[in-house]
């Protein structure tokens, strides 16, 4: 139990938490803008060519990405439950669901690595064509965010185990959960754009 957290009155804590939450939301918005720019670029480049993917380029497979998506959305669900159990004071289940979230996140990254390996094997590389450029940049940027998210969640879990958060004060956990859900939502857009849109 961190004693220093108790030296500040609750009103002050709430003010500070609200500021941090707003700041974090603005950060996420700026991240959405970065993705939007790349998505705009994807649509723009795609609109300039007749065939997508260009002839001779092997596209990414829908079924593999589909399985991977289920893994990622599953991690969103476990994250949600981890948060709920924390709020209700069930520390044991909280830790369990956090670990599940982290493992599913790593699973998604593993699936993505497998997908990349297959594509590279089939000759679709990053610099090979605008298809490769757009595909690997968008999924790579997202994968990078998942990677950062996994580190974020591990940090949050360690801090929770050290007792940094109390049942009333857990901004770091909120931020981690928000970030994880954000990564999920971005994936919905990318999945429809890169795999479903034929």
């Amino acid at each position: 139990m961190a004693t220093h957290a108790l030296t500040v009155d609750d009103a002050t804590y709430q003010e500070v938490r609200d500021q941090r939450l707003l700041g974090f939301l603005f950060f996420l918005i700026s991240d959405v803008i970065i993705f939007s720019s790349f998505i705009y670029g994807y649509i723009y480049l795609r609109s300039t060519v007749m065939a997508w993917p260009p002839p001779g380029i092997e596209p990414a497979a829908l079924y593999m990405a589909g399985v991977n998506s289920i893994v990622l959305f599953g991690s969103g669900a476990t994250m949600h439950y981890a948060m709920e159990f924390f709020k209700h004071g069930d520390r044991r289940k909280f830790v369990g669901y956090m670990i599940a979230t982290i493992i599913l996140g790593l699973g998604f990254l593993g699936g993505q690595a497998f997908e990349y390996f297959n594509l590279l094997h089939a000759g679709t590389s990053w610099p090979s064509s605008i298809y490769g450029a757009a595909f690997f940049t968008l999924t790579g940027l997202h994968g990078f965010h998942v990677f950062i998210g996994v580190i974020f969640l591990i940090t949050v879990l360690i801090q929770a185990q050290r007792g940094t958060y109390t049942q009333q004060r857990y901004f770091g956990l909120t931020a981690g959960a928000l970030y994880w859900h954000f990564v999920d939502v971005i994936w919905v857009a990318l999945f429809s754009l890169l795999y479903v849109w034929k």
């Binding site: 961190a2 220093h4 957290a5 030296t7 500040v8 009155d9 009103a11 002050t12 804590y13 003010e15 500070v16 609200d18 500021q19 941090r20 707003l22 700041g23 603005f26 950060f27 918005i29 700026s30 991240d31 803008i33 970065i34 720019s37 790349f38 705009y40 670029g41 723009y44 480049l45 300039t48 060519v49 260009p54 990053w126 610099p127 064509s129 605008i130 490769g132 450029a133 690997f136 940049t137 940094t164 004060r169």
Partner: protein
């Protein structure tokens, strides 16, 4: 009463004791006022370097077929001059320096919402400057400050350094933007409603919004360019299936709002200085505040007016032309409100007021040529000529830089505790104002006659005008020495300013100059708007609890 103390007390967000070591106090400071001074000093240094590049260019252009600079060096000079003036001088001074110095004081806050992030975003800035000016070693970028591909894909390593430099500035600008926005939304003193906020804070709020929305696009565009240059991944290269016009779309989706990032804070500065030296409330407070918001929103819908000659379809050009012209309406609302404030005012012609009047005349002129450029048929003729150079400098120099100097003369006493010399200030103004107009006004004419921009040699028919422009440009450069002398003289032997030398009514003038570490010993409670001259002061104070409490 006790409850009010409580609410006031929590508005400062972070609480920690004042720093005691030199490094924490002056180098890695988290105090918004020290960070502001750091921005002033670094941007001032970059202003000198970028200004020297401009003088080199004018030396080259003094005669028609001069060989002082090689075409390559000339290209490098104008590219770095433009990039540095936009990203290392005007934006950091207006947001980083003035925003940091004034905004928290004007809203009655003890600091910004995230002081550590504030320090962090300053320290991204000097490395960016070193990268940009250091690019000369490997061959600086040569495609202008916009670095259009595919030219920028074929340049030397310096262009990659340019990408990294601007990326750092972009991150810094995004962080500062969200920091300021949270500060303004969450940390205003009790009683300071949105319509009681000083107009500089309004301008800073809109600027912060633009910074963190628009700049993220720039980061994306730069990331693409850097990836393509480093790994050969095709985004912009038409030979590999990419599209160079894509860069223009994303770049201008940032850089057009950036134009307003570079002018809105100057609008805010003008709106603070005018009522102070007219001794009357600003005309149309709400009109000025809301027109900033209108400009901010419109700025996202006009980017393609930079691309009229890039082969856009006519049905795309038309709405962008109309939307661009509509920006003139909220800007006109501001101009007329300022002029109406002057009308019947008890005007005191101090140096800040001189610069404001200079701003009003030159910026309005630049705005009018902007409307000319917004018209597609005119733009097709004027694009890539000196007319555009003239327009840009009337807006960014005649607008932003005159605004910056107005703000410097106005808030210098608050920042340093000493007055600048008024006589030297007026000499500086007249030298700068006359030589500015002598430099950039003739550029309209040679532009309309067809002299292209971005060339180091030109047809001898423009020789005489160019010689005149170059001589004026040297006088313009020299006028800055008067300011430098004034600043040094003021630091050594300037008159003590006291807390409110101009008799202004915004909150920053209610505390000592320079302000103490926590800004406000007693929490100000705001009772009315900031510009009601002749009425009792619009605030009262309540005793605050200044004990230091850590917050996790």
């Amino acid at each position: 009463m006790q409850a009010a103390v409580g609410t006031a007390h929590v508005t400062h967000g972070h609480i920690h004791p004042p720093p005691d070591t030199f490094i924490k106090k002056y180098i890695f400071s988290q105090d918004h006022k020290v960070i502001a001074v750091q921005y002033f000093i670094t941007s001032g240094l970059f202003f000198v370097l970028a200004g020297l590049l401009a003088e080199m260019m004018r030396a080259q252009l003094a005669s028609a077929n001069n060989t002082l600079l090689s075409p390559t060096t000339y290209n490098e000079a104008y590219s770095v001059h433009g990039s540095a003036m936009v990203w290392l001088v005007i934006i950091p001074i207006l947001t980083g320096a003035f925003g940091n110095l004034i905004m928290p004081l004007q809203i009655g806050a003890r600091d910004v919402a995230f002081p550590w992030l504030n320090m962090f975003s300053f320290w991204l800035f000097p490395p960016a400057g070193i990268l940009l000016f250091g690019s000369f070693i490997w061959g600086a970028p040569e495609a202008g400050w916009t670095e259009y591909p595919p030219i920028s894909l074929e340049q030397s390593f310096g262009t990659s350094m340019w990408c990294m430099a601007i990326f750092l500035i972009g991150v810094s600008s995004t962080i500062t933007g969200l920091n300021f926005l949270v500060t303004i939304i969450k940390m205003r003193a009790p009683g300071m409603t949105w319509t009681r906020m000083p107009l500089f804070v309004w301008a800073t709020a809109v600027t912060a919004f633009l910074s963190f929305i628009a700049t993220a696009n720039l980061s994306a565009a730069l990331l693409g360019l850097l990836i393509e240059r480093t790994f050969g991944v095709p985004f912009y290269d038409p030979a590999k299936g990419g599209s160079p016009v894509l860069w223009q779309h994303i770049f201008w989706f940032y850089s057009h709002p950036a134009v307003y990032i570079m002018i809105l804070p100057a609008f805010g500065i003008v709106s603070e200085i005018l009522p102070t030296f007219c001794r009357r409330p600003i005309f149309g407070y709400k009109a000025i505040a809301y027109s900033s918001v209108a400009i901010g929103l419109l700025s996202f819908a006009v980017w393609a007016h930079h691309m009229f000659t890039s082969g856009l379809a006519p049905w795309v050009q038309l709405p962008f032309m109309i939307l661009t012209m509509i920006v003139g309406i909220p800007t006109g609302v501001k101009i007329f409100s300022w002029v109406a404030t002057l009308w019947g005012g008890n005007i005191r012609l101090t140096t800040p007021m001189y610069f404001v009047l200079g701003f009003l005349s030159t910026f309005t002129f630049g705005g009018i040529t902007g409307i000319m450029l917004a018209s597609v048929p005119a733009d097709v003729h004027e694009h890539a000529t000196y007319f555009v150079v003239a327009h840009l400098h009337y807006v960014l120099f005649g607008g932003s830089v005159f605004g910056i100097f107005a703000g410097l003369y106005y808030w210098w006493p608050k920042m340093t505790g000493r007055m600048l010399d008024e006589t030297l200030g007026k000499i500086h103004f007249w030298l700068m104002f006359v030589s500015f107009n002598a430099t950039f006004l003739p550029m309209h004419w040679i532009g309309l006659e067809g002299m292209p921009r971005r060339v180091s040699t030109y047809d001898p028919q423009y020789q005489d005008t160019n010689l005149f422009i170059s001589i004026s440009a040297f006088v313009l450069g020299a006028s800055m020495l008067v300011f430098a002398y004034n600043a040094i003289k003021s630091t050594i032997s300037g008159r003590e300013a006291g807390q409110n030398p101009w008799g202004a009514r915004t909150l920053e003038w209610m505390i000592p100059s320079p302000p103490p570490y926590y800004n406000f010993d007693d929490i100000p409670v705001v009772l009315s708007g900031p510009y009601d001259y002749g009425k009792p002061l619009p605030y009262r104070e309540i005793k605050a609890d200044l004990s230091y409490k850590p917050i996790v």
